[in-house]
């Protein structure tokens, strides 16, 4: 694989709001993100081991033409920087959350993890460490009839830069859920892609973003319905304060013949200050005839009636505002059916907002 690749022009849709020049890692020796699997219950198996570079991007029963290309600058860079990809195999019905710590230390840290699910599991990936730049590429496959929930949280330094790429493939009658609480990092670019490869596949995505100070967060979420009678739901709730900026783009593609698809995506922005800015751009490419595809985007400040209602119950202005913001962000995880996933994300959110208030 060549390491030389030209920077994409700012006219390229994916990099329009967050130029690659902002996100490119410094030219320094990278370190690998250290991945640690916590013990799991005995109802199933979870095994973390070295993985093959061939898994990135992953091909599983899906049309190759729709695969993310390594010509994509972010994926290309991550592939070149990380020599030790990892693989997490999940089997059986894991009743408790599978916790994996991702520790990003050093100036530039990069990690790639492939998750293969042949059962039912909730996986919590928690990123921490002091890396100035952190790159993470997640790929995964949910086998036919299986169910996987992946939640991603972080406590990366507020001055770090983060690049994340996801590529998930979901099989027949399989369900993939993912929830992300994006609160760390000074600049963050995420490119999350999901492929529904067979009939009955379902994808549910909850994304909560909290912007403070001058934080810049750009999430691009793609959902590809390759077959009919598949469902997807995306909820992205963004609360921006200070002079932070958020960009959310959702690309929903329904292929020719994917009739019976039911897809919806909604982006909601809550602006907490005059200087905050949030853009939401849902896009639909519907090539099938008989589908249900809904999308929406809305931006607003905190609702006065909600504030008045909470204040009439004794909460002062700050307490009432904080409750509304926390609820708004937590509501992003409503699509997730796995209660452990929702609870974990909710707990992390509460801790984050409590810390944010103190600081």
């Amino acid at each position: 694989m060549s390491t030389a690749m030209e920077d994409p022009s700012n006219a390229v849709h994916l990099w329009r709001s967050t130029p690659w020049s902002w996100m490119r890692p410094d030219e320094t020796e990278p370190t690998s993100v250290r991945m640690v699997l916590h013990p799991v219950d005995e109802t199933g198996e979870a095994n973390l081991a070295s993985g093959s570079p061939d898994l990135f991007p992953v091909v599983v029963d899906g049309p190759e033409t729709s695969l993310p290309d390594v010509d994509d600058i972010a994926r290309h860079t991550l592939a070149n920087l990380d020599a030790t990809p990892m693989r997490l195999d999940l089997k059986g019905d894991l009743e408790t959350v599978v916790n994996v710590d991702l520790c990003a230390a050093g100036h530039v840290a990069v990690g790639r993890l492939h998750i293969a699910c042949h059962g039912r599991a909730v996986v919590h990936l928690h990123m921490s460490g002091d890396a100035g730049w952190c790159g993470l590429h997640l790929t995964g496959q949910v086998a036919n009839g299986c169910s996987l929930s992946v939640i991603v949280t972080d406590e990366l330094p507020l001055e770090s830069r983060v690049v994340r790429c996801d590529d998930w493939r979901v099989g027949r009658d399989a369900t993939f859920e993912t929830g992300t609480l994006s609160v760390g990092g000074f600049r963050r670019k995420s490119d999350l892609r999901h492929h529904l490869d067979a009939t009955g596949a379902a994808v549910r995505i909850g994304l909560a973003v909290h912007g403070q100070g001058k934080r810049h967060d750009d999430h691009h979420v793609e959902i590809h319905h390759h077959k009919g009678h598949t469902t997807s739901q995306l909820v992205a709730n963004v609360a921006c304060g200070g002079r932070s900026r958020s960009v959310g783009t959702g690309r929903l593609v329904i292929d020719v013949g994917a009739d019976g698809t039911d897809a919806g995506q909604v982006f909601r922005n809550l602006l907490l200050s005059q200087g905050a800015r949030a853009d939401a751009i849902p896009e639909l490419e519907v090539l099938a005839d008989d589908v249900s595809a809904a999308h929406g985007a809305a931006s607003a400040s905190i609702d006065n009636d909600q504030l008045h209602y909470l204040m009439s119950r004794g909460l002062d202005l700050d307490e009432a505002s904080a409750m509304i913001v926390e609820g708004f962000l937590a509501d992003a995880f409503r699509p997730l059916a796995a209660s452990e996933a929702r609870r974990t994300l909710r707990d992390r959110l509460t801790v984050h907002l409590d810390c944010a208030r103190i600081t």
């Binding site: 006065n304 204040m311 202005l317 009432a320 609820g327």
Partner: protein, 247 residues
């Protein structure tokens, strides 16, 4: 009349420069139940909102004394902490905020300290029992996807937990079926005997279950008639037309 729990004198209020309240006088003593009835758009809900301090309304004349204090000088949360409670006709939904969390935080705010978990659980169970509410309520988001009846029950549940000195109940009976109405009435009746209550309603059916000491009729931003519970019965029978000459 002076020295009441709630004393409203010559109250005028506007919303977006339109005058809604045109001189309201109302005096409620501790332990009294007053009812306000009136035509649509008479300003009944506005009166409750102004007393609670909704920022959309501006007081242009008059005064509101609560427990001897100038209520208009207090912030909304200070009014709540001083024992004023309003049951909203259309309570806001707060997505993502669970009822249980919301109740615990509001009780802590009004009482000035967080309730002990075990004691609070008992209180909650007792209050929910009065209203015939299921525990599953506590895990739902505040008023989010609630039916009209569920919203009203949650309002009364909050009232029972907060034990206000003065409760403003804005059309708490609207949209309730007979069983729900009885449960809500039981909740109101179980409020401390020292509490004042202002019921805003269109119908006598709630007043058969929560018997008021005084009934007031409000038309076009003014109280045009006051009387005992028999006034509500006459309104139920004859409507408001006979009061029109009083304007």
């Amino acid at each position: 009349m002076a020295g009441g729990l709630l004393d409203v004198k010559g109250l005028h209020a506007t919303v977006e420069e339109t005058e809604i309240l045109r001189g309201i006088d109302l005096h409620i003593k501790a332990g009294e139940v007053h009812a306000i009835m009136g035509t649509n758009g008479a300003g009944k809900s506005t009166l409750a909102s102004v007393i609670m301090g909704h920022p959309a309304y501006a007081i242009t004349a008059g005064s509101i004394q609560y427990d001897g204090e100038d209520l208009t000088a207090m912030e909304v949360h200070e009014r709540a902490r001083a024992g004023l409670f309003m049951s909203f006709q259309y309570p806001s939904s707060i997505p993502g905020v669970q009822v249980g969390t919301f109740l615990r935080k509001s009780v802590a705010a009004v009482r000035g300290e967080a309730p002990k978990a075990r004691e609070f659980r008992k209180e909650l169970q007792a209050a929910m029992g009065v209203l015939g509410m299921d525990r599953s309520f506590l895990g739902r988001y505040v008023n989010d996807g609630f039916s009209g009846g569920e919203k009203k029950r949650l309002e009364i549940l909050q009232m029972l937990l907060l034990q206000p000195k003065m409760a403003l109940l804005d059309e708490t009976d609207s949209g309730l079926d007979i069983d729900a109405l009885k449960a809500v009435a039981e909740g109101i009746n179980s409020l401390s005997k020292d509490s004042g209550v202002l019921l805003i309603t269109h119908y006598n059916r709630l007043l058969e279950l929560v018997v008021p000491d005084r009934v007031h009729v409000m038309i076009d931003g003014r109280i045009v008639q006051s009387g005992g519970p028999e006034l509500a019965q006459r309104l139920e029978a004859d409507g408001y037309e006979w009061l029109t000459p009083a304007l």
